[in-house]
Symmetry: C2
Subunit: 441 residues, 2 copies
């Protein structure tokens, strides 16, 4: 059978675009053999037509005019690989209006304007493929949308940001402070010059908005997600917690609680070193999903990088070309008004275990003082370590882990602890997340 040619227009000849071009050329035979499709890059739009890239596209395909792509009726699929939430949005809308299916890796745009774009796509009778927007090469979008579609999802726990995971792994492994680990990540290309989006947890939250929306088939706005980053993580806490069996990860959590409400949060989390997610190191991503039929399943792979992300972009092109993705997009209600409204559970209503580090004055009666404060707020201590060590101002670090405690009790206790004159500075408080276990039946 003669392969069917599918013409592709690409906007944005950056890192991911370069990777896509490379796959389309280098894996062309493989893709044709597997799918019966011949994927052909017909046009590449970028302002910068001069700078040499790691993989060079024939000069004749390059243009700085989006119209070249829009006006080519043979182009079926348009790739928006520009990034950001302004021009990129216009580009997607224009491509949809011109009758192209859209494929994108733009998590920020979809997290913030997804419903608007999905609506535009439906109206144009086209689809948006966004496998590449979350967790690079792990086909997690398709897994949540199709593979686990028969399940009531109860929990989703993910390491979605390779930069943060690289930094935290390196802090723990090499015993270096945050600032140094960040610098190292930047020098090795695992962190941007401006790392804010990553280390603040915002990038992780973008992905949680998309994947949570699929898991709980509801519309999620960024405001529905509680976000804390890793900027203030102290090496001392990584070390103390490790002694108690915990590993620090920036975790994205989406849980459906017994009352039917959905809790969405991104924050530094101590997880048991025996949990599979605790072993996900360096720039890798992983997602652990709990479904009422399937139990626990886990997915692991490179969360970013030129080729892993490009792998997902090309997978979407193929799914569009086979007609599978458009059918899914049309049937599964991605657009705002057709998705049921969800009740979200604010962070103050969440019960959690906590890790607390207090720099306590090394004198008699101190233990009772902060013990009373915790007790008053009904915070029950599960574990504690106080090493024989003296810090500044004659203080000792006291590390405490708690039983499950309502966040509001902890928030109130922290305010009081801060004001105790037997405590030096602000207590450090990091949540401990007990990822459920899927035990043998």
């Amino acid at each position: 059978m003669k392969p069917r040619t599918v013409k592709i227009g690409m906007v944005g000849y950056g890192t991911v675009g370069t990777g896509v071009a490379r796959i389309l050329v280098e894996n062309a035979d493989e893709i044709t053999a597997r799918t019966g499709l011949k994927l052909e890059l017909a046009c590449v739009v970028d302002k910068d037509m001069e700078t040499p890239r790691e993989f060079q596209i024939p000069r004749v395909l390059l243009t700085d005019k989006l119209e070249t792509l829009l006006n080519n009726p043979d182009i079926e699929v348009g790739l928006e690989l520009v990034g950001g939430t302004t021009i990129a949005k216009d580009i997607q809308i224009q491509m949809l209006k011109a009758g192209k299916h859209v494929v994108t890796a733009n998590k920020a745009l979809l997290a913030e304007h997804g419903p608007h774009l999905y609506q535009a796509a439906l109206k144009a009778g086209r689809c948006i493929g966004f496998e590449a927007s979350c967790c690079g090469g792990i086909p997690i979008v398709s897994i949540l949308r199709s593979g686990l579609a028969a399940n009531r999802i109860s929990g989703l726990y993910g390491i979605f940001n390779g930069t943060c995971n690289y930094i935290l792994t390196n802090m723990a492994g090499s015993g270096i402070p945050f600032a140094e680990a960040l610098k190292e990540a930047q020098s090795r290309g695992f962190a941007e010059t401006d790392p804010t989006l990553d280390i603040s947890g915002t990038d992780t939250a973008h992905k949680l908005a998309i994947l949570g929306g699929l898991a709980y088939h509801c519309r999620i706005d960024m405001d529905d997600i509680y976000i804390e980053g890793i900027e203030n993580i102290d090496l001392a806490d990584i070390r103390s917690a490790l002694e108690m069996g915990y590993v620090l990860k920036l975790l994205a959590i989406g849980e459906k609680t017994a009352d039917g409400r959905i809790s969405l949060r991104v924050h530094p989390s101590f997880i048991s070193q025996h949990t599979p997610l605790a072993r996900v190191d360096g720039p890798f991503n992983a997602v652990s999903v709990f479904g009422n039929a399937v139990g626990n399943t886990m997915y692991y792979g490179r969360g970013a990088g030129m080729m892993a992300t490009a792998s997902a972009v090309v997978a979407d092109i193929i799914d569009i070309a086979t007609g599978s993705n458009p059918r899914l997009f049309e049937t599964m209600p991605m657009a705002t008004e057709t998705r049921h409204p969800a009740q979200f559970k604010p962070i103050e209503d969440i019960d959690s275990r906590f890790y607390l580090r207090i720099m306590a004055k090394d004198e008699a009666g101190v233990f009772a003082r902060y013990g009373q404060t915790l007790g008053k707020h009904r915070i029950s201590i599960r574990g504690a370590i106080q090493h024989e060590w003296t810090g500044p101002d004659n203080t000792v670090p006291v590390v405490i882990t708690t039983h499950p405690t309502p966040q509001k009790n902890m928030t109130a206790a922290l305010t009081e602890l801060e004001q105790l004159n037997v405590i030096h500075g602000k207590p450090v408080c990091i949540r401990i997340v007990d990822i459920p276990e899927d035990k043998e039946q």
Copy 2:
């Protein structure tokens, strides 16, 4: 929007069938909210209409006549959940001819007669969904067919059989011999009364035939796969290897070698305890896949059981109802004649590392004798342990690990070793599999 009703006919009201019925009833609202589809069980065919099941289907839906299903024009999807390779094949063919799409969990049938059935489906303009045939709830069929479709796959390493993994985990963890671990697995429902299909490696090979066919888009017959089971595994070897840092797994391996040939094998394999697959315990399955763009990705979950398998069956029903699966089936060449022929690499051409245990006579000059035999066949020793211990006939167990060695050299050396009068009995020889690492760039 009013949900579209999709009528389903089920043949085989056994374990998986019961799970499917339960999901269709208990998760009905969830599925409709997610997909806009109302999945309705319209008829259940089984010879046994009397025995009570764990989840009871309304009596009125039960019939012992396949014709009731075939002649109902409203039924779009037919589930073959009978198992086996004889009646099941007829049932699938009849359902396809009656214009039903087919969903099945029947790995044995697809491994042995897949091409014939795919061809029948194409001819009927219908598709066969077989997500449930491999690794239970892990959507690995879809991942290999779509999610990683842009990649040249170089390797596929899987733990595909929960029964074997449960037995091996238990032998290592509880220090019990094979026979006892098998009995325990049977009493807990993790092994069949006749466990042959599982422990012989055949079930694992069935899944490798299906998944290898997707990864390398070629037709794989059972004869193309080298198979060894776990029946003869001795606890002593699990213990000795653990001391050297290896964990024993029944591994399915599909590798594309540098010469373009495909190596397919199922055998007990020692893998490094630091490999993620080494931590897959009990009845769980996992698959590690290496693609030239995506790098290493890994997938983990329950490989069998009523609800996990049913989760995959219902996922297929949904993908068929959205129209996505039929498009994929039509485009991706699953049928024999359209798939390119592959060159398979026989086991004798494979290089491997080996674990050897020899019961050597405890006397002077023995070390040199078997050392000479190994050297003569160009087998280079990487590690060795000889504990100060005496076994039957004044022998000591000598454990040796080798550098990569052609299988044929090892086969020849084993024959010679057996004949040495300084060695008691047959040497034990188990392959060591070095799963590639996807290192930080």
